[in-house]
Symmetry: C2
Subunit: 123 residues, 2 copies
Protein backbone atom coordinates (compact mmCIF):
# COMPACT_ATOMS: atom_id res chain seq x y z
CA UNK A 1 0.00 0.00 0.00
CA UNK A 2 0.87 3.63 0.23
CA UNK A 3 2.92 5.45 -2.27
CA UNK A 4 6.29 3.91 -2.20
CA UNK A 5 7.22 5.60 1.08
CA UNK A 6 10.07 7.91 0.23
CA UNK A 7 9.87 8.45 3.96
CA UNK A 8 11.86 10.51 6.36
CA UNK A 9 15.21 9.19 5.24
CA UNK A 10 15.95 12.32 3.33
CA UNK A 11 19.60 11.38 3.31
CA UNK A 12 21.09 9.44 0.46
CA UNK A 13 20.82 5.74 0.89
CA UNK A 14 21.74 5.21 4.50
CA UNK A 15 18.79 3.92 6.44
CA UNK A 16 18.49 5.81 9.66
CA UNK A 17 17.45 4.59 13.07
CA UNK A 18 15.83 6.52 15.89
CA UNK A 19 17.74 6.76 19.15
CA UNK A 20 16.64 8.54 22.31
CA UNK A 21 18.69 11.59 23.24
CA UNK A 22 20.79 11.29 26.34
CA UNK A 23 18.42 13.37 28.42
CA UNK A 24 15.50 11.20 27.41
CA UNK A 25 16.99 8.01 28.78
CA UNK A 26 15.12 6.78 31.87
CA UNK A 27 16.53 4.55 34.55
CA UNK A 28 13.48 2.31 34.80
CA UNK A 29 13.55 1.75 31.06
CA UNK A 30 17.24 0.95 31.03
CA UNK A 31 16.72 -1.54 33.83
CA UNK A 32 13.82 -3.04 31.97
CA UNK A 33 15.92 -3.35 28.83
CA UNK A 34 18.60 -5.14 30.82
CA UNK A 35 16.17 -7.39 32.67
CA UNK A 36 16.10 -10.12 30.07
CA UNK A 37 18.61 -12.93 29.73
CA UNK A 38 18.92 -12.53 25.96
CA UNK A 39 19.51 -8.84 26.16
CA UNK A 40 21.90 -9.25 29.04
CA UNK A 41 23.88 -11.56 26.81
CA UNK A 42 23.88 -9.05 24.01
CA UNK A 43 25.09 -6.29 26.28
CA UNK A 44 27.85 -8.45 27.72
CA UNK A 45 29.02 -9.43 24.26
CA UNK A 46 29.00 -5.81 23.20
CA UNK A 47 30.96 -4.76 26.24
CA UNK A 48 33.48 -7.53 25.74
CA UNK A 49 33.98 -6.59 22.11
CA UNK A 50 34.47 -3.01 23.16
CA UNK A 51 33.48 -1.81 19.75
CA UNK A 52 31.09 -2.46 16.95
CA UNK A 53 29.51 -5.82 16.48
CA UNK A 54 27.39 -7.12 13.70
CA UNK A 55 23.98 -8.35 14.80
CA UNK A 56 24.80 -11.77 13.45
CA UNK A 57 28.07 -11.92 15.38
CA UNK A 58 26.16 -12.48 18.60
CA UNK A 59 24.79 -15.97 18.65
CA UNK A 60 21.44 -16.27 20.35
CA UNK A 61 19.15 -19.27 20.63
CA UNK A 62 16.21 -17.44 19.12
CA UNK A 63 14.91 -16.70 15.66
CA UNK A 64 16.07 -13.77 13.60
CA UNK A 65 12.92 -11.77 14.13
CA UNK A 66 13.16 -12.19 17.87
CA UNK A 67 16.73 -11.03 17.64
CA UNK A 68 15.66 -7.90 15.81
CA UNK A 69 13.11 -7.32 18.53
CA UNK A 70 15.66 -7.47 21.36
CA UNK A 71 18.10 -5.20 19.61
CA UNK A 72 15.35 -2.73 19.04
CA UNK A 73 14.35 -2.75 22.70
CA UNK A 74 17.94 -2.05 23.67
CA UNK A 75 18.21 0.77 21.17
CA UNK A 76 14.88 2.38 21.96
CA UNK A 77 15.68 2.41 25.66
CA UNK A 78 19.03 4.04 25.12
CA UNK A 79 21.33 1.13 25.89
CA UNK A 80 22.91 0.64 22.48
CA UNK A 81 23.50 2.50 19.22
CA UNK A 82 22.83 0.93 15.88
CA UNK A 83 23.79 2.00 12.39
CA UNK A 84 24.00 0.40 9.02
CA UNK A 85 27.16 -0.49 7.22
CA UNK A 86 26.27 -2.06 3.93
CA UNK A 87 23.84 -4.85 4.59
CA UNK A 88 25.14 -5.27 8.10
CA UNK A 89 23.79 -3.48 11.14
CA UNK A 90 26.44 -2.60 13.65
CA UNK A 91 25.83 -2.30 17.37
CA UNK A 92 27.64 -0.51 20.13
CA UNK A 93 27.06 0.09 23.83
CA UNK A 94 26.22 3.71 24.68
CA UNK A 95 28.78 3.75 27.43
CA UNK A 96 29.40 7.48 27.41
CA UNK A 97 25.77 8.38 27.81
CA UNK A 98 25.01 5.71 30.36
CA UNK A 99 28.09 6.48 32.44
CA UNK A 100 27.22 10.15 32.42
CA UNK A 101 23.64 9.55 33.48
CA UNK A 102 24.08 6.64 35.84
CA UNK A 103 27.70 6.47 36.99
CA UNK A 104 28.84 2.97 37.70
CA UNK A 105 25.58 1.31 36.79
CA UNK A 106 26.68 -0.42 33.61
CA UNK A 107 29.94 -1.48 35.18
CA UNK A 108 28.09 -2.99 38.11
CA UNK A 109 25.65 -4.81 35.88
CA UNK A 110 28.41 -6.20 33.68
CA UNK A 111 30.43 -7.32 36.67
CA UNK A 112 27.33 -8.86 38.24
CA UNK A 113 26.54 -10.72 35.05
CA UNK A 114 30.06 -12.05 34.90
CA UNK A 115 30.01 -13.15 38.51
CA UNK A 116 26.67 -14.86 38.17
CA UNK A 117 27.75 -16.64 34.99
CA UNK A 118 30.81 -17.97 36.81
CA UNK A 119 28.80 -19.05 39.82
CA UNK A 120 26.24 -20.85 37.73
CA UNK A 121 28.84 -22.37 35.48
CA UNK A 122 31.12 -23.93 38.06
CA UNK A 123 30.04 -26.43 40.67
Amino acid sequence: MSTETPAAGAASGARSLAHPAREDIRLAQVLHALADPMRLRIVCALAAADGELNCADIELPVSKSTCTHHFRVLRENGVITQFYRGTAKMNGLRRDDLDALFPGLIDAVLRAAGLQARHLGEH
Copy 2:
Protein backbone atom coordinates in the same frame (compact mmCIF):
# COMPACT_ATOMS: atom_id res chain seq x y z
CA MET B 1 -0.30 -23.45 44.78
CA SER B 2 -1.01 -23.88 48.44
CA THR B 3 2.59 -23.74 49.55
CA GLU B 4 1.27 -23.66 53.07
CA THR B 5 4.28 -22.34 54.93
CA PRO B 6 7.00 -24.64 53.69
CA ALA B 7 9.83 -23.21 55.70
CA ALA B 8 10.35 -22.02 59.23
CA GLY B 9 6.66 -21.71 59.86
CA ALA B 10 6.98 -23.96 62.87
CA ALA B 11 6.81 -20.96 65.17
CA SER B 12 3.56 -20.21 66.88
CA GLY B 13 1.26 -17.80 65.17
CA ALA B 14 3.74 -15.74 63.19
CA ARG B 15 2.75 -15.79 59.56
CA SER B 16 5.76 -16.62 57.51
CA LEU B 17 6.73 -15.43 54.08
CA ALA B 18 8.82 -17.22 51.49
CA HIS B 19 12.11 -15.61 50.50
CA PRO B 20 14.60 -16.91 47.98
CA ALA B 21 17.93 -18.01 49.43
CA ARG B 22 20.91 -15.89 48.55
CA GLU B 23 22.21 -18.37 46.00
CA ASP B 24 18.86 -18.46 44.25
CA ILE B 25 18.78 -14.77 43.49
CA ARG B 26 19.20 -14.07 39.78
CA LEU B 27 20.48 -10.87 38.25
CA ALA B 28 17.86 -10.70 35.53
CA GLN B 29 15.10 -11.07 38.10
CA VAL B 30 16.55 -8.42 40.35
CA LEU B 31 16.77 -6.05 37.42
CA HIS B 32 13.21 -6.86 36.49
CA ALA B 33 12.07 -6.20 40.02
CA LEU B 34 13.80 -2.83 39.93
CA ALA B 35 12.54 -1.91 36.48
CA ASP B 36 9.32 -0.35 37.62
CA PRO B 37 8.85 3.20 38.87
CA MET B 38 6.75 2.18 41.85
CA ARG B 39 9.19 -0.47 42.97
CA LEU B 40 12.11 1.84 42.42
CA ARG B 41 10.40 4.25 44.76
CA ILE B 42 9.90 1.59 47.36
CA VAL B 43 13.53 0.55 47.20
CA CYS B 44 14.73 4.14 47.48
CA ALA B 45 12.51 4.74 50.49
CA LEU B 46 13.76 1.56 52.10
CA ALA B 47 17.37 2.51 51.49
CA ALA B 48 16.81 5.99 52.83
CA ALA B 49 15.16 4.65 55.96
CA ASP B 50 18.07 2.28 56.42
CA GLY B 51 15.92 -0.02 58.50
CA GLU B 52 12.49 -1.44 58.71
CA LEU B 53 9.54 0.28 57.18
CA ASN B 54 5.90 -0.45 57.45
CA CYS B 55 4.20 -1.04 54.11
CA ALA B 56 1.90 1.86 54.79
CA ASP B 57 4.79 4.18 55.55
CA ILE B 58 5.65 4.34 51.89
CA GLU B 59 3.11 6.42 50.10
CA LEU B 60 2.35 5.26 46.61
CA PRO B 61 -0.27 6.53 44.18
CA VAL B 62 -1.80 3.11 43.74
CA SER B 63 -4.36 0.99 45.51
CA LYS B 64 -3.52 -1.21 48.43
CA SER B 65 -3.77 -4.42 46.44
CA THR B 66 -1.37 -3.10 43.83
CA CYS B 67 0.93 -2.15 46.64
CA THR B 68 0.86 -5.69 47.97
CA HIS B 69 1.68 -6.92 44.49
CA HIS B 70 4.79 -4.75 44.16
CA PHE B 71 6.09 -5.67 47.57
CA ARG B 72 5.65 -9.30 46.73
CA VAL B 73 7.55 -8.95 43.46
CA LEU B 74 10.41 -7.35 45.32
CA ARG B 75 10.42 -10.05 47.98
CA GLU B 76 10.12 -12.99 45.60
CA ASN B 77 12.99 -11.72 43.51
CA GLY B 78 15.25 -11.33 46.48
CA VAL B 79 15.36 -7.55 46.75
CA ILE B 80 13.64 -7.10 50.10
CA THR B 81 12.79 -9.04 53.25
CA GLN B 82 9.38 -8.92 54.80
CA PHE B 83 8.11 -10.07 58.16
CA TYR B 84 5.11 -9.45 60.28
CA ARG B 85 5.04 -7.44 63.44
CA GLY B 86 1.57 -7.44 64.79
CA THR B 87 -0.75 -6.41 62.02
CA ALA B 88 1.98 -4.50 60.29
CA LYS B 89 4.29 -5.96 57.70
CA MET B 90 7.80 -4.64 57.91
CA ASN B 91 10.13 -4.34 54.95
CA GLY B 92 13.88 -4.16 54.63
CA LEU B 93 16.37 -4.07 51.77
CA ARG B 94 18.46 -7.24 51.46
CA ARG B 95 21.64 -5.22 51.22
CA ASP B 96 23.98 -7.89 52.53
CA ASP B 97 22.85 -10.49 50.07
CA LEU B 98 22.70 -8.16 47.13
CA ASP B 99 26.06 -6.60 47.85
CA ALA B 100 27.62 -10.03 48.18
CA LEU B 101 26.16 -11.26 44.92
CA PHE B 102 26.36 -8.11 42.83
CA PRO B 103 28.88 -5.73 44.37
CA GLY B 104 28.04 -2.12 43.74
CA LEU B 105 24.85 -2.78 41.85
CA ILE B 106 22.37 -1.56 44.42
CA ASP B 107 24.51 1.46 45.21
CA ALA B 108 24.68 2.35 41.55
CA VAL B 109 20.94 1.94 41.10
CA LEU B 110 20.16 4.03 44.16
CA ARG B 111 22.55 6.76 43.10
CA ALA B 112 21.15 6.66 39.57
CA ALA B 113 17.60 6.95 40.87
CA GLY B 114 18.59 9.91 43.00
CA LEU B 115 20.34 11.65 40.12
CA GLN B 116 17.47 11.11 37.77
CA ALA B 117 14.95 12.34 40.32
CA ARG B 118 16.98 15.52 40.76
CA HIS B 119 17.32 16.05 37.03
CA LEU B 120 13.63 15.56 36.41
CA GLY B 121 12.63 17.59 39.44
CA GLU B 122 14.60 20.75 38.85
CA HIS B 123 14.04 22.98 35.84
